[in-house]
């Protein structure tokens, strides 16, 4: 036998043939594809027992009852609570809460900034350090130089902060204002009490909205959407008056474009027609015995707000105005909505009063389909904090923002005045700033001014759960639990009644975070003396239980406790004259009617930039989840470029085509943008979404687009002092 090359060849051939008859190649082929079906780098969700836990969403002021779906001890989804009562509902933001809970931009432990770098510290160390600094201030009689910016004014946590400032000795507790503050002023002035209006849209047969973003995030979006759907089911009308074809305008039965900022003029013009044609008479309402200042008001609108003049100012056709008035007054239960967009910018007091006069003339207060007035009864009945001399001295100092004083006599807090106050003095009048539940450095207009002001403050303590813009400027961060990890009372509205909901921890805190309520109590205890005495609770949970008392059992069962007594009943109950007052001394003091104009020279800035709010972009303290940003259209954000909407005719004037890059300049700043041609916007107006251009947070959000607040300045409402800017003059240059 000779072994040659051929033998090896045949060995190989045999081996090949043999392999074909062995499982090896076939099993390998099968297993390699099964391997691709189970790639180790693709996560496999761990299975477990599913459970559902109800809680109240506190990501926006809406306070919806939601259900969290859990698998064992992890949160997998937020869902609408399966019931019609108890304010159940969910929106895109609430649906995002699981992503926000596990977000990479969560702050995982208390942090301290040392030489510009974040260093982990313990809760104990953080509390001790803050207390030490606070003690020093007190020693120097500077307790009033502690300020606190709170995102909300309602509920126990803001109340604890406010109480802390008082006990410590500072008057400078400032809340982030919203349209709700102006709503209260509207009714303070005309009914003598700061009622909060609830618009009974679902039962109305004719809704006129003066730029209110009914379907763009206003109020409680979930409830607003539900109400709108009922309107559609009942085939009732919605009219939207707005410069831009917003989502609300698109859903409306009629969209009436109007020059922005002139909505109040239109409302007064409409009031004039109603009075002139005596259409209010058949409305069986407030007149004669129940109104005051009506004759004076009548004369005022007759003089300045003829339909012709109004048409000229607003750009709305005369016949459209008269037709609108007719339809409005013909309706059984008409209602006029006020407050622009989603209501994060408080807005013009006079404009809202003007619109509310339509409600008065239609006599719809507390009627089905009209405006329901809720009193802001507090369920928090704590004993007053104990004040020592230092505290007493401190709280009697003037508020830094000037609220409640002089020309700002109406407002309680004026956050928008803070940057100016800080910038106008050499050294910061604030030595320490608490920032809780808010991101003022991002949400306040005129970012440049705000940065300058904030940089002056020697010590900032942030209580944010996220590495947002303000937190990154802080010196110490005591991160709050996310709402799915904590107890908290949430002030809400159930149906047409005031209510309080209870957020309950759905999971144990996943990071080393601390409830802001606990943080305040611990800091107070660390300070000792009367301050510690004022905070006798062991912790926040004890405080909450004590505050809610028996209500808690109801909340545990039904999430919400409804305040049946908090409804405005009859005009006779009103605290002052018991009448609806068109004009009175206080109103006269506000110099009616002045509406806010956009800042900037028309010549230099021929265009007007307005902001628009979108459900898909959260613009407040809570920022977008990755899923939400994913839903944002490519005509809003492309890569990192933001788009500015412009009418094609205006675009042609500026030699701009769809998608072209341009430099947007306003009196407040410059930004490179791209343009999106949109037929749904008035000529000469351009618009940009709020809520983008974050520098904080994670890579799913940071760096995308421009923060519109960098381009828009605040404009003090001459009547209230709140920010009433609805836009700014601007110019676009192709680049």
């Amino acid at each position: 036998m000779k072994i040659d090359r051929r033998s090896f060849l045949s060995l190989g051939a045999g081996a090949t043939a043999g392999l074909a008859f062995s499982p090896l190649p076939w099993k390998l082929m099968d297993d390699s594809s099964i391997w691709t079906q189970n790639w180790p780098w693709v996560p496999v969700p761990t299975d477990g027992e599913a459970s559902y836990v109800d809680t109240v969403c506190s990501l926006c002021p809406g306070g919806c009852g939601i259900t969290i779906r859990k698998i064992d001890d992890r949160v997998v989804k937020a869902e609408k609570k399966d019931s019609d009562n108890a304010n159940s509902g969910i929106c895109i933001l609430g649906l995002s809460s699981p992503q926000l809970l596990y977000s990479p931009s969560r702050i995982k432990t208390p942090l301290k900034k040392i030489e510009g770098k974040w260093v982990k510290i313990s809760v104990k160390e953080a509390v001790a350090e803050i207390a030490e600094k606070l003690k020093d201030l007190r020693k120097d009689k500077l307790s009033h130089t502690l300020a606190c910016i709170s995102g909300s004014s309602s509920g126990t946590v803001p109340a604890l902060f406010e109480r802390f400032l008082k006990a410590y000795g500072s008057p400078n507790f400032i809340t982030v204002p919203s349209v709700k503050d102006v709503y209260k002023l509207v009714f303070s002035l005309s009914l003598g009490s700061p009622y909060v209006p609830v618009f009974d849209i679902a039962n109305s047969d004719f809704v006129v909205s003066f730029g209110t973003g009914l379907l763009d995030g206003w109020g409680n979006p979930a409830q607003a959407f539900k109400a709108h759907s009922i309107l559609k089911d009942n085939k009732k009308k919605l009219i939207q008056i707005e410069a831009r074809l917003s989502n609300t305008a698109a859903k409306a039965d009629k969209w009436i474009p109007i020059k922005p900022g002139t909505e109040g003029v239109l409302a007064l013009g409409m009031a004039n027609i109603i009075i002139e044609k005596r259409l209010y008479l058949n409305k069986n309402i407030l007149f004669d015995s129940v109104t005051e200042g009506f004759e004076e008001f009548k004369a005022l609108v007759a003089k300045d707000y003829s339909v012709k003049a109004v048409a000229e100012i607003t750009g709305v056709k005369q016949e459209d105005i008269t037709a609108l008035v007719e339809d409005f007054m013909k309706a059984q239960s008409p209602v006029a909505l006020f407050g622009r967009g989603e209501g994060t910018i408080p807005g013009s007091l006079h404009e809202m009063m003007a619109v509310n006069f339509l409600n008065a003339l239609a006599g719809n207060f507390n009627k089905a389909g009209g405006v329901h007035l809720l009193s802001d009864n507090s369920y928090i009945n704590w004993t007053e904090p104990i004040l020592d001399d230092t505290a007493y001295y401190g709280i009697n100092k003037k508020r830094l923002d000037g609220a409640g004083d002089g020309k700002y006599f109406l407002a309680k807090h004026l956050l928008n005045r803070l940057p100016e106050v800080l910038n106008s003095s050499e050294t910061s009048p604030i030595n320490m700033l608490f920032v809780t539940d808010s991101n003022p450095f991002y949400t306040m207009a005129d970012t440049k001014l705000v940065r300058e002001a904030f940089e002056k403050i020697p010590f900032i303590v942030s209580f944010s759960s996220y590495m947002d813009e303000t937190a990154s400027m802080a010196d110490i961060i005591l991160p709050n639990h996310f709402f799915l990890e904590r107890y908290q009372d949430v002030v809400a509205t159930c149906g047409l009644k005031p209510a309080v909901g209870l957020s309950k921890p759905v999971v144990n805190p996943i990071f080393d975070t601390i409830h802001s309520g606990d943080a305040v109590i611990f800091i107070a205890k660390a300070l000792g003396g009367t301050i510690a005495e004022s905070f006798a609770w062991d912790d926040y949970k004890a405080c909450l239980d004590e505050t809610l008392e028996a209500k808690k059992d109801i909340m545990d069962k039904e999430l919400f406790w409804v305040d049946e007594s908090g409804v405005f009943n009859a005009f006779a109950d009103a605290e002052s004259s018991g009448k609806f007052e068109f004009i009175n001394d206080k109103i006269r003091q506000t110099k009616p009617y002045t509406f806010v104009e956009a800042e900037g020279e028309k010549k230099q800035y021929p265009l007007t930039l307005i902001r628009f709010d979108s459900m898909r972009i959260a613009s407040g303290y809570t920022a977008n989840s990755p899923f939400m940003t994913k839903t944002v259209a490519d005509t809003v954000i492309k890569e990192n470029d933001i788009f500015v909407e412009i009418n094609p005719k205006t675009a042609a004037e500026y030699n701009l085509t769809d998608g072209s890059k341009a430099l947007l300049t306003t009196p407040k700043g410059k930004a490179q943008v791209r343009v999106h041609l949109y037929e749904g916007i008035m000529q000469g107006i351009i618009s940009m979404p709020s809520g983008l251009g974050h520098s904080g947070y994670d890579n799913y959000l940071a760096g995308k687009g421009i923060n519109i607040n960098e381009l828009i300045g605040q404009i003090e409402d001459p009547a209230s002092g709140f920010d009433a800017a609805w836009g700014i003059r601007a110019v676009l240059v192709r680049v």
Binding site: M1, R6, S10, L11, A17, G18, S22, D47
Partner: protein, 210 residues
């Protein structure tokens, strides 16, 4: 003459060479068959022991049927392997004095740590298997798929496919895929086979996939 000689010589050579060729061919075949049928399966599967041993017999005598520990949740889903929560009622304290019992109580129960059981019948993530449909609706016995594990006194070695990460019970112990019992294999075709017999069709994809 010389021509013929030449031819026959070459023929002889050919024959001889042919024999060698066939022999080598057969050797090749044999090597491959041995490799494929014997060595390959040994290499393909890694053997793993369970963290602790467990006797189904002892437990079923003590607590009853399978569903005492492998139960349906209220929502109709199947709980699978029991968690500590189920064991703790009896095993707060050591039951008996075996080494495994000691480990279980000391390292798991006392430390509240779940036992990382290796699941023989673990299907991949893409599979939706409804225990409710089979046990509750079709009233099938556990044995029809899980075999005699319920009457075993010790846990068998867990074999894991090194490429796919599957338990060997899915493909079956027999490398050729031959099965004698319904529980010998748990591949999709085995599901299909039974469904075809019992229901008349294999069902749609989504019936068993997610």
């Amino acid at each position: 003459m010389s021509e013929t000689q030449k031819v026959s010589a070459s023929d002889n050579k050919k024959k001889d060479a042919g024999g060698t060729t066939i022999l080598f061919f057969l050797i090749g075949v044999a090597i491959s068959l041995a490799l494929g049928w014997i060595i390959f399966p040994k290499l393909l599967y890694s053997k793993k022991s369970q963290p602790i041993d467990f006797s189904h017999v002892v437990h079923s005598e003590a607590v009853g049927d399978c569903d005492s520990c492998h139960f349906f949740r209220e929502d109709g889903t199947f709980s699978g392997a029991p968690t500590l929560a189920e064991c703790i009622d009896c095993h707060e304290e050591a039951q008996g004095d075996t080494e495994d019992e000691r480990i279980f109580v000391e390292e798991y129960v006392a430390q509240n740590k779940e036992v990382p059981w290796l699941i023989y019948s673990e299907q991949p993530d893409s599979v939706f298997f409804s225990h409710a449909a089979h046990v509750k609706k079709a009233k099938m016995s556990c044995e029809s798929c899980h075999g005699e594990i319920g009457t075993s006194d010790a846990l068998p070695i867990y074999e894991e496919n090194r490429i796919t990460g599957y338990s060997r019970n899915i493909w079956g112990k027999n490398i050729a895929g031959i099965k004698k019992h319904t529980w010998d294999r748990m591949k999709m075709n085995d599901c299909g086979e039974c469904h075809e017999e019992e229901i008349g069709d294999k069902g749609s994809c989504f019936q068993c996939h997610k």
